[in-house]
């Protein structure tokens, strides 16, 4: 029964966008219209922005991850945690913040492809930094130590350490590339045409679903390429969870220590503290009564969409883990990754095309939820599959032999070791879902815009201080929610001195 329900769920999530892809392929084949020049230019723009930003992400993330992991710096972990902050921000808000302070000539540069690359880099580098940082931390110390007996540290780094982190580097780089490729809020705000915004504008202005579908095809095909290129690397990620390393390759030169501190502070200043300070400063002059009045509805909706989508997806995938045969799990994981790598605009157009025939779904929040599930279900799938891989199946067998009911075993034996993984999956899903702009802009129900979309639409005809206040509230809402989630799902010490023990 569970297997059937799960298959139905996954089929419902993954197949509609893929069917729409096929329909788009058909529409393209039988259409006399080709792609116009402006469209091709937007596509090239998109690719340039994605590649340039990913390259800069690499330039920041690699040395930063290496230094933080290998130079014994007190507080390095805290620094690494704060470096996650840009993922909590709407990428658009970083652009907004920098636009408050830059003088006229530089402002022109911000509202250009250079500015988009700058903002993309500051927004998405944690996607590459974190896999690299954890990979550097989790390299088996013995592997490096045995090499250190033969070669100097530089050669050990080149010959032993780097091959180990290669899948994480390429996987993370692919994620940066894809997120830059898929983001539309920043380019639209900074006035740089990209393919996603072109489709969005055409669809919103003319409601030409066939045209939008046809235009989404190159995007979808590029998504397919991302999928094919990334799958070998992402499938090799083992989600290293070692949090500190005391042995192995270490660089303890005082110069490197100074370099690490300076680099970390510089990046934190550029990507986290300064944008936040600018937004805060600007928001002080906002009419907060009006802000709070306007924000209430979208804020609750954002929270609700984010929580329903993340909790629903994660708990279903958790429930499914023991049931799925490994071969079938591989198939669903591949499908999940494929849909994850469909650019959100293409995914949204596909969903509208497919579900447009079902008014009950089409005009309801369910369509947005389906979009979010399709787009991000890959995250809990991959994380919980990893948790399941690490879970000793013999512990489950030992529990089966006791004859306790299935739910008791699930709750008392399986759930506790899964708890941090479930928490991580929910938090990541929630953050990405709440900050998702392209999908939400196309799929939100009438009168039901989430906060990310509301900020964007309100910022057009309200003072900038208003938009700054809304952005801060969005970040605050995310921070509060993930704090609550962290409280529930934090890793716990299971020794209970004052429990019900005799």
């Amino acid at each position: 029964m569970t297997k059937i329900a799960l298959r139905a769920y996954l089929a419902l999530i993954f197949f509609p966008p893929l069917l729409a892809l096929l329909a788009a392929f058909g529409a393209h084949l039988f259409s006399a219209k080709g792609l116009d020049f402006f469209f091709v230019k937007s596509l090239l723009n998109t690719l340039f922005l994605a590649f340039a930003s990913s390259f800069l992400c690499l330039l920041i993330s690699f040395p930063l991850a290496l230094l933080l992991a290998k130079v014994p710096l007190p507080g390095a972990k805290l620094g690494a945690v704060i470096l996650t902050a840009p993922l909590l921000f709407l990428p658009y808000q970083t652009a907004l913040a920098w636009s408050f302070i830059l003088p006229e000539p530089l402002l022109g540069l911000l509202f250009s492809p250079v500015g988009v690359v700058f903002v993309f880099t500051l927004s998405f580098f944690p996607l590459l930094f974190w896999p690299l940082y954890l990979a550097f931390l989790s390299i088996p110390a013995e592997a490096e130590e045995s090499a250190l007996l033969l070669y100097p540290p530089g050669k050990v780094l080149w010959k032993i350490t780097l091959p180990y982190v290669k899948p994480y580097l390429l996987g993370g780089l692919g994620l940066c590339l894809f997120f830059c490729f898929a983001e539309i809020g920043v380019p639209v705000y900074l006035g740089v045409p990209v393919i996603g915004s072109e489709i969005l504008t055409r669809f919103a202005a003319f409601y030409d679903i066939a045209g939008a579908l046809r235009s989404s095809l190159p995007l979808a095909l590029l998504g397919l390429l991302f999928f094919l290129a990334e799958r070998p690397f992402l499938s090799r990620w083992e989600f290293p969870v070692r949090w500190e390393t005391t042995r192995g390759l270490k660089f303890s030169s005082p110069y490197l220590l100074i370099l690490t501190v300076s680099f970390l502070v510089f990046i934190l200043f550029l990507a986290v503290f300064f944008p936040l300070f600018l937004l805060f400063h600007k928001a002080l002059s906002a009419d907060w009564q009006k802000v709070l009045l306007q924000v209430r509805g979208p804020l609750w909706r954002s929270l609700l969409y984010g929580l329903v989508a993340s909790l629903g997806s994660v708990f279903l995938i958790f429930w499914a883990q023991p049931f799925l045969a490994s071969r079938e799990k591989g198939l669903w994981e591949a499908l999940g990754l494929l849909v994850f790598f469909l650019p959100p605009v293409a995914l949204a157009v596909g969903l509208i095309f497919f579900w447009g025939h079902f008014p009950l779904v089409y005009a309801s929040p369910l369509l947005l939820l389906l979009g979010l599930w399709g787009r991000f279900t890959f995250l809990p799938q991959r994380l919980l599959a990893e948790a399941w891989r690490r879970f000793d199946k013999k512990c489950l067998e030992a529990a089966y032999l006791t004859g306790r009911p299935f739910f008791t075993i699930l709750l008392k034996i399986v759930f506790p070791p899964f708890r941090p993984w479930i928490g991580l999956a929910i938090v990541l899903f929630f953050i990405f879902a709440v900050n998702e702009m392209a999908l939400s802009s196309l799929l939100y129900p009438p009168g039901g815009a989430p906060l990310a979309v509301a900020i964007y639409t309100l910022s057009v005809n309200t003072p900038l201080s208003f938009a700054a206040a809304l952005c801060l509230l969005n970040t605050l809402m995310i921070l509060l929610t993930i704090s609550v989630l962290f409280f529930f799902f934090r890793p716990r010490s299971y020794e209970r001195r004052n429990s019900r023990h005799p």
Binding site: E397, Y400, Y494
Partner: protein
Amino acid sequence: MKEETVVTLKGIKKAFSREQVLCGVNFSVFPGETVAIIGLSGAGKSTILRIIAGLEVPEEGEVYLYRRLATSASRLILPPWERKIGFIFQNLALWEHLTVYEHLKFVTSEEEHLVRLLHLFELWDLRKKVPAKLSGGQRQRLAIARALAQRPALLLLDEPFSNLDPIRKKKFRRELLRIKEEENLNLIYVTHDPNDLRLLADRILVLHEGIILQGGRLSELLAQPVHPIVKELLTL
């Protein structure tokens, strides 16, 4: 099947990824008996225990528990939790998030039995600790206590002493024999250690190339081995 048996395996065949591991295993275990299974690594010793426990299903053959059909040709008739079997896994398979007390509490609700086991295995003072805080020997004791908490009629042990030092091994063998007498248990265990065979086993089954090559008392096997591998395994 006229004679009373605890376990009977008939023509058990099992393959993993097309590799035939068991090619028709037949044997019975009689009440009060302690049976040891020996064989080379990968011979399928643990698989036999898992099939008896109902954790694996053979492609062919039948398993009887107390003359009741438990497994029949790819079909699990009696699920693992209804077999009243205690299993001590090679890696112990302790639940790392539960304390010693909670381990036993999860298995049994009989508080008196639980407290008795805690004292019996010298775990009372450790009852509030999680497995990560226990030594190798304490973990082993917890695994045995957990297996006994459900009052099994049959205890399966998969290389139970492999992680212990020689002194602890000796102590545990003695304790196991005592518990076996006290609880009226039947034991089937897998081992590589000739001392286990000498001191614990009433009967030894030699598993080789998917079949029980020879079975009998240690002295009988040493006196008349049917294959050179039998002597080799027994005198390592």
